[in-house]
Symmetry: C2
Subunit: 145 residues, 2 copies
């Protein structure tokens, strides 16, 4: 947890950050999402993250429901960590971070594609009423409860 | 910085996280984006973040170009912190985090709207070739360099 430091916050973004906002969390998930990693050694080798930290992150993702632990077919006492639908649903977070980094920091090295047709895709904000793309400056919030 | 711990990473999402991935960073920016905060005391009062941490975050946002420091009209020795276009461009990151939290944790209390018409908006992934919404499981990456 980012501690219970965000506990005073009644905000979905803050709640999401309590689950995925810690150091390494989103990069571990990026590797599960886009590099097909499922094993402790893969995550560990790629990020060179301390094993105890990686264990903590994976355990938390499993308890939250972002990853599912499955016995490895050839070594049932070892586990694969597989993204659930809840975990897959975090892809747009990584995509928007990446799109921002591409535009404002350094582009690449990867782009996102639709697996069915290989077309480049990115998250966009479209207004159903105006039938137009909404620039960030025109997005505001309204309270619903 | 999330330290230079992500330095081995050649990845736009990792680069973005070096700039906005630290504790409090995205919540400070959320308040600038959607609550109209511009002043140190506003950020500090809302998040109850330690002043030295807040100073560090704001200074870094200014040096990165996410916020711009402007003298306050009535107290020119004090500053407003105003989102730049680079900072506005981070709205989709907060929106995707929030959409995920809404769906998988607890919904609300806010939703995003298009300021021009008040229609609810959210980031979506649309394939220009298939002219269809792309579910997260169908998003993959390809290297471009």
């Amino acid at each position: 947890m980012l501690g219970h430091t965000y506990d005073g916050e009644d905000c979905s973004a803050a709640r999401a950050l309590e689950v995925v906002g810690e150091r390494w969390s989103l990069l571990i998930l990026r590797n599960a999402m886009f590099r097909g990693y499922t094993r402790f050694a893969q995550f560990q080798g790629d990020l060179r993250i301390a094993p105890n930290v990686l264990t903590k992150r994976l355990d938390k993702f499993v308890s939250t429901g972002i990853l599912e632990r499955r016995p490895q077919p050839e070594r049932p006492d070892h586990h694969d960590y597989v993204l659930t639908e809840m975990g897959q649903s975090l892809k747009p977070v990584v995509m928007t971070l990446s799109a921002w980094g591409d535009r404002w920091l350094t582009p690449g090295p990867a782009e996102f594609v639709h697996s069915a047709c290989q077309a480049t895709v990115e998250p966009t904000v479209h207004c159903p009423t105006c039938d137009a793309a909404v620039p960030p400056a025109e997005v505001t919030t309204k309270r619903v409860r």
